[in-house]
Subunit: 199 residues, 4 copies
Amino acid sequence: MARVSKEERKKAIMHHALILFSREGFYTTTIPDIAKSIGMSVGNLYNYFKSKEALAKEIIKYISAYLSERLRGINEEDISSEEKIHKIVSVYFHTAAEKPEMIEYFLRIYLSNREIFQNGCEGMICVSDFVTEIMIFFEDGVRKGELRDQDFFSAFGLFMGYLGGMVFLFGEEILPKPLEAYIDDISRNIYRALKSDEN
Amino acid sequence: MARVSKEERKKAIMHHALILFSREGFYTTTIPDIAKSIGMSVGNLYNYFKSKEALAKEIIKYISAYLSERLRGINEEDISSEEKIHKIVSVYFHTAAEKPEMIEYFLRIYLSNREIFQNGCEGMICVSDFVTEIMIFFEDGVRKGELRDQDFFSAFGLFMGYLGGMVFLFGEEILPKPLEAYIDDISRNIYRALKSDEN
Amino acid sequence: MARVSKEERKKAIMHHALILFSREGFYTTTIPDIAKSIGMSVGNLYNYFKSKEALAKEIIKYISAYLSERLRGINEEDISSEEKIHKIVSVYFHTAAEKPEMIEYFLRIYLSNREIFQNGCEGMICVSDFVTEIMIFFEDGVRKGELRDQDFFSAFGLFMGYLGGMVFLFGEEILPKPLEAYIDDISRNIYRALKSDEN
Amino acid sequence: MARVSKEERKKAIMHHALILFSREGFYTTTIPDIAKSIGMSVGNLYNYFKSKEALAKEIIKYISAYLSERLRGINEEDISSEEKIHKIVSVYFHTAAEKPEMIEYFLRIYLSNREIFQNGCEGMICVSDFVTEIMIFFEDGVRKGELRDQDFFSAFGLFMGYLGGMVFLFGEEILPKPLEAYIDDISRNIYRALKSDEN
DNA sequence: GATGAATGAGCTTTCATTCAT
DNA sequence: AATGAATGAAAGCTCATTCAT
């Protein structure tokens, strides 16, 4: 057990907790549930996270870092805004398909349980990396004349709400096709909504 | 106490529970909390709803009925799809501003706590009225040639995700302006995304 | 509803309660259950019996009266003790087969829930009619020289314990044959145990 | 607290619960009552037994094991059936006198509350050890020609019903003499009922 | 670091009984 | 006599967190 570093152990806990929280909900997942899923004692888990809430907060920071890193890659590419939109949608949906727990956690745990994230994650502090990348994408597009210059939140809400909504529908098993099948449609819709009129 | 009918009393309970659930969350709102907020005993509350979950399910049905009724009014008007979009966004945002508990409940309680609504509200049964109205709007628009003929869920996700996302941002007090200030922007974005190319 | 006398109404309540108590147990049967089974309101039921316990006590008195009446008939017949034993066993088993609720109530509710019958039915006050008839049977037999003169309770315990035990086994669906099939065997065993040595 | 093993702790809980259940009844004994009687917290009690019913079931198994062990000793002795009957009655009554809670539990809790023991203790599964020893005693006696060959249940019901009935009368403080004073009478009655005719 | 027994407050739910009508 | 909404105490059970080892 002493083989792995404290940091690796924390990661492992977060990974297991993320899966349980996203699958069962924050309140319906117990600390013993999490401990058992890692094969660790309840008491020891508290050596790594001082409370269930603290664990939940660290997880959302981890997810934000993960997603923003992927967005940063796209932002750094020298491609049109239209192509970037397609890539962002693609990354989001592929993540939702391959690591559904991440997006589910974002939507069902983080966004929906204000009371848990109140102290320490107010506003969007704990997901600011992620928001920043969307902002960079949007402002780049406007600067290049590819996107209409509108209120940032109108654009941000479109992106996040639309993608989140689709993943919700997918999670409810309402969508008749796999998520990836919607990438083209949705990218097009977003692009049409955001593009500048001269294009 | 016999002044009010059993049905009115149920409505009153639902109203108080709706406010508490949307404000504090399902799990962090207790039955005694609800009873106290109405000035009713805990035991008596169970004469009206057989469980906390049953209460939550009746509330979402009530919200779906409320919203779908408003949408039906719009669908019945003889106006363009563009105007309808504007009216739908307007109704949604005004509801969110005036009865924030309804939209918050929809987003934070209903959509995010699958386990609560599993038995009896699978799929979107408990909000089917509402979904139906969106479908009618969309298919009418396509039939009239005003909207592009695309996958319904691509359109539905745009509507519900986008509007929900904005209300989320508003609830987090992130939006710099009141919700209503975004009606024009958002209506335009949605219309651009959905309209047929010949328009 | 005013057609029937108060006494008839009480009987009806006792009858329904007897069935429910014997089938489901005293604590697992609720007053609303009883009220519903008669088609009467909960409040009105309390006009006839001042509490659940009072109802239970009246029921056991009723059962004792019913059984003792049958035993009195046997005691008054001019037949041998051996024949009387056979008739008593027969009455008991036929009652258990045809009105199982009576014997079940006696065994499972009355004998097993001391706390309910503590005030008002101490000792065997509420079943004294019944005990008295067994005592008459036994003392008659001794007087006639047909039964051994032994401690009354040794004889009473044999009668009541043995018969009760068989009904228990029957209720548990453990007996391979119907109750009545055991009448001869059991009568013989009791007679052998009790008869005087000169016979 | 770590002085005692988990198994010893379970035994201790069962012991205290047994006394309370037999004295006060299953439904009138609360989990807090039991916890308090051991000096343990309510929550911790649930670390040992997953429910009140599970606790009740383990207790009856324990009692059955206890009694059957004593009966096995008697069955293994090389003595006549008449002597065995005397010893069995003696063991039963001494147990009832010294550990009244055991017999009371058997009679008042186990036999009378079917609903509690329905899942997991159907038929006589949870007391099968005990029933088996009575069966061995009876069949040995028949084989040796000391007991009449009759239906096993006619004999079993006599044994268990009679002994149970006497303990009931004792528990009701109806018997004028201590239980032990009845051992000879009752043994004789049982022997007369069961013995083969040639003896 | 690691364990898991122990705590106890607090949850949802039940139900005998009352009482205004 | 009759109704059934209303009460509220108390039940069984859960679970985040602690702490002795």
